[in-house]
């Protein structure tokens, strides 16, 4: 399969290079054809790989492609590890990317940077595939940063907009804070194992866990805890977990297709994938897992709340992405890695769908994004309406839709995870994901109702232009709506309970919540479906939808009243818990003042002023004094010579 893997990775890269460098020569159609065919082929080959893994009985493969460098006994390679986890990710990435490529033809139709855009998204596909297919930490980091680069380029795609180039710088820097932890984590791995290769590192997991590292000087830390927490800091950056989440909402400055592809379906899930991939390490550190679950829980609940007060259609979806990423992280912390990846997969479909649907509305509204200026769009855009409904129902976990299976079981798994005996952690996590269901339903349907139902708040002129978007836009919506609706039915069993991932994911037996659920709770998809009506999850979601309906369709005056009554709370949410203020006014401004201080006081005043030029001045002044001795008159020199001669002679005669 080696040739397949190479082709899957390299074809999008080649397409990206051609579209990027020869964009003018091949024209707009040339650029979209070559990239679409490229990613299409990648998708097809990935499907074959998945098929072979799942039904063909193919074993996981671990191949080296070439040696990047070898020095001091450290082998740095580029290679592929393709197992069932990888195969699933490959299909998800290439499928969503394929859909987004097609959609882009419609969305970017009038943009002067058309070819550049296609080049970037193909480059992204390449980078993301390198990330998920890697068999070592070096290439993982390459893919990790490469997707960050493309994300930077695409958020700032409309580089004339001040807000876009602010957002892309912010995204890159916040991600770099995460990567700072990540590279230290990789360094720690090398320190304890002497290798960057997954297989070798995982093989030595027990030995890492038995070592210690002096960090603070008080008491040594368990090496595995250090490794896992450092790596997780990387995941917090990439997967936008609090407090490194601030870049994701701003990333909505980028064109909508990439919000769907990068900032919802694939790149932001890289952190989730990474932790699942590293399950053989994380399973050896309950401390790290506790950190993971708490961060995930806080993100899941509190970021969801922010979605309620947003008025920008894309930002609502962005906060919902943050919250759903929090759900996945919680599952990781509960050792339910498969549940996290399963939710990652369904989320990729329905969240890409929601973003593209939002984009469809945005096109139709001529780039108006404020949901307060929409309403009643249902009758103008029926296909967008129905697909968005599918996406929203999947997001809130409505029974039968894909999100239902993944979210319901994720919550069951968290509930089941009593293992760590850390009561508070468990309760925080469980309550967060449970209450999060209500919040999710509330903000999702608030947006849905405000956009598609109720009073038509746009201008008459807008209305006259309003119509369904062209086929290149709605066909991807439909193609994404299908898996969003039904994929849960037949994948939930194999992925979560029938050991689809096999050895790709390692869970310690004592806390294998999914295995436990499999014995006590799970029968089949239909059973789960019928059981749903007696779970709090269902009723919370229903309550959320009802509340949204009541507040935003039935009595739209109430939200205003609440906003006025609870001004403090509203401000807290509106200002996003003041994280941005803290970072921009605190860290960024602080860093700049510190830099200015070091430059003007350290470099210019002390080093240059006092030491360098000070020395020069002193030499100058000294020379000024000495100059007076050198009068230029012969008698002064003669006198000096006589005195010198006398002293010298005297010294020779009496002292020696």
């Amino acid at each position: 399969m080696y040739e397949y893997y190479l082709a899957i990775v390299l074809i999008p890269l080649a397409a990206s290079i051609v579209a990027g460098l020869a964009g003018h020569k091949i024209g707009r159609a040339g650029a979209h054809w070559i990239t679409i065919v490229g990613v299409g082929v990648s998708f097809l080959l990935s499907t074959i790989v998945l098929y072979n893994m799942f039904w063909g009985g193919y074993e996981a493969e671990n191949l080296s492609v070439y040696t990047w460098a070898v020095t001091d006994g450290l082998h740095m390679e580029v290679g592929f590890l393709v197992d069932r986890l990888t195969a699933l990710m490959m299909v998800v990435v290439t499928f969503v990317s394929f859909m987004v490529h097609i959609y882009t033809i419609g969305y970017m139709h009038d943009d002067p940077g058309y070819q550049r855009f296609f080049s970037y998204i193909s480059l992204f596909t390449f980078s993301m595939l390198m990330l998920v297919m890697s068999n070592n930490f070096l290439q993982l980091f390459f893919g990790w940063e490469a997707v960050g680069l493309v994300s930077y380029l695409l958020i700032g795609f409309w580089y004339k907009r001040e807000s876009a180039i602010f957002a892309n710088l912010k995204a890159f820097l916040v991600n770099r804070v995460g990567d700072f932890g990540f590279i230290l984590g990789i360094s720690a791995v090398v320190m304890f194992t002497g290798s960057l290769d997954y297989a070798e590192v995982f093989g030595q997991a027990e030995s890492i866990a038995s070592q210690q590292l002096e960090v603070t000087g008080f008491s040594p830390w368990n090496a595995m805890t250090v490794v896992c927490i450092l790596l997780f800091i990387g995941a917090m950056g990439k997967s936008a977990q609090a407090p490194l989440h601030v870049w994701l909402p701003d990333s909505m400055e980028g064109p909508t297709p990439i919000s769907a592809l990068i900032h919802a379906a694939t790149m932001v899930t890289a952190g989730i994938f990474m932790v699942a991939r590293m399950s053989p390490l994380y399973e050896f550190s309950t401390t790290a897992l506790a950190v993971v679950i708490v961060i995930g829980a806080l993100t899941a609940f509190f970021m969801g709340l922010l979605g309620i007060v947003q008025n920008d259609i894309k930002r609502v979806v962005a906060y919902s992405t943050l919250s759903q990423l929090g759900y996945m992280t919680v599952a990781l912390g509960a050792s339910a890695y498969s549940a996290a990846i399963f939710h990652l997969m369904t989320h990729a479909f329905f969240k890409a769908l929601l973003f593209l649907a939002a984009g469809s509305v945005i096109i139709a509204m001529h780039h108006e994004q404020d949901i307060r200026k929409m309403g009643g769009i249902r009758k103008y855009m029926p296909i967008t309406y129905w697909t968005a409904l599918v996406g929203s129902l999947a997001l809130i976990g409505f029974p039968g839709f894909s999100g239902f299976f993944s979210k319901d079981l994720l919550i069951e798994a968290v509930k089941e995870s009593h293992w760590h005996g850390q009561g508070a952690v468990y309760w925080i996590a469980y309550l967060s994901v449970l209450l999060g269901v209500f919040v999710t339903a509330l903000y999702s349907f608030r947006m849905f109702f405000l956009v598609f139902h109720g009073e038509e708040r746009m201008s008459e002129e807008e209305k006259s232009h309003l119509h369904e978007t062209p086929a290149v836009v709605w066909v991807p919506l439909v193609l994404l709506a299908i898996p969003s609706a039904i994929i849960g039915w037949f994948t939930v069993g194999p992925v979560l309970f029938e050991g689809y991932f096999g050895s790709a994911i390692f869970v310690d037996e004592t806390r294998d919540v999914l295995a436990h659920l499999g014995e006590t709770f799970w029968h089949d998809s239909l059973g789960l479906f019928t059981h749903s009506v007696v779970t709090p999850v269902f009723w919370l979601a229903a309550a959320g939808v009802f509340t949204a309906w009541f507040l935003y369709l039935k009595r739209p005056d109430i939200p205003d009243t609440i906003q006025k009554k609870a001004q403090g709370l509203y401000n807290l949410l509106d200002r996003k818990y003041y994280f941005d203020d803290l970072y921009i006014k605190g860290f960024a401004a602080g860093g700049r003042s510190f830099g200015k201080f070091l430059w003007q006081k350290g470099d210019e005043l002390i080093i240059d002023g006092l030491l360098v030029n000070g020395t020069a001045n002193m030499v100058g002044r000294l020379a000024g004094v000495i100059r007076h001795i050198q009068t230029g008159y012969l008698y002064t020199y003669a006198f000096a010579m006589i005195i010198g001669l006398t002293v010298l002679l005297g010294w020779l005669i009496w002292v020696r």
């Binding site: 450290l74 490469a146 860093g591």
Partner: protein, 505 residues
Amino acid sequence: MLANYILSVLIWLPIAGGVALLMIGDGGDVKSSQARLMRLTALAFSLLTFLASIALYIGFDNAERGMQFVERVLWVDAFNVWYYLGIDGISAPLILLTTFITPLVVIAGWDSIKTRPAQYFSAFLILEGLMIGVFSALDGLLFYVFWEAMLIPMFLIIGVWGGERRIYATLKFFLYTFLGSVLMLVAFIWLYVQTDSFDLLTFMNAPIGLMAQKLIFLAFLIAFAVKVPMWPVHTWLPDAHVEAPTGGSVILAAIMLKMGGYGFIRLSLPIVPDGSEYFSGLMIALSLIAVVYIGFVALMQKDMKKLIAYSSIAHMGFATLGMFLMWWIVADTGAGLGMSGAMVQMVSHGLISGAMFLCVGVLYDRVHSRQIADYGGVANTMPVFAAFMVLFAMANAGLPGTSGFVGEFMVIIASFKANFWFAFLAATTLVLGAAYTLWMIKRVVYGEVANDNVAALQDLNAREFIVLAILALSVLLLGVWPAPLVDMMNTSIEQLLLQVGQSKL
């Protein structure tokens, strides 16, 4: 036959070329056919030198532990001074870097130099020969002669073709570097008295007491720290860069700064290993200060060249950090990783900083300003240029897939093995490096067209395109496949570590 004298060819061919240029002259008019001939001659000599270095690369034996291409002729009998040349895996990459960058500088200055072009190109060719001389000299005095001679062309380049405050900058540059190197001469003379020879390899094997080692280390330190430059003797660099013409900045950043790092590896570490060990803590501290302190200072620069100059200091901090980690690493491996990382960082920094200065030069040639505030929205009028500049900025920020990542990655891993906090401070460059580089990009390249100057900008011409494209390809190639470079150095670094590992007491 000629192959035995390839180092001499590499040194004297460009110097002969430089002299030839002076004789051809420019005919008093940059557009004259004479000036054209002169420029073509300059290009021909720099390309011939590059070709000769390719022969060197082909003939180089990666597995050889000793010196290669050795030439040894008695020079001054009375003091036992030899014309003694030879290279190993540490000097060879730096020679290749020199011969690679010089033709690019010649092309870059093709028609942007209006005054005294013959002398300008001549200075660069002579400088090239002298720098290769430093990298291949194995005799202390010969090393010293090349080392000091190298200052003269650079002094002239900044002093004659520089900006407004060029006199201040040249004096500062000259005094700083000259004062530093005089102490190196003193150390050489002391060693000569001990060993009756100026042979560097003899110095390496001579037993030296701890006190003497410490003093020699300090003498070397002052010479090399100024060149690197290390904090706190770095303040000449931003001034020199700002005033230097584009080509001068490129050579200064790409190659002359490497002299300091090379000096540490070639002289300090093997000649005074115990002295180096004694001061390694200080060296690591200074290196980390360079990374963090200078990173913050770079953030606030308003002048693009100053910003890149400060960024160079921070990046060179990685090189010196990697070199002095070995005594702090308790594990059996890791020292070599730090040393390789340091070397890769030096080569890569040569390419990236050179490219960054060329980019600023492209803008300066058009707008005659280096101030960030005078730009904005360059991508609108110069899209091709913008693509290059963003690529080099990303390389400067150490993005994997570019050469900028390779060295930093190795050094961070090695420093983690030494101490968690070393790695912690070193890794701050991921954030700081990205912050100062990309913030500059945001203000210069992106945004709406800021003013009429930017609106009138013309995109790259063919000549500029070729230079930047060649650099871009090499930055990417080294990032995707650094093995050829690393393999070249591995044996020599092993050998060096063996040597340094043995106490001379």
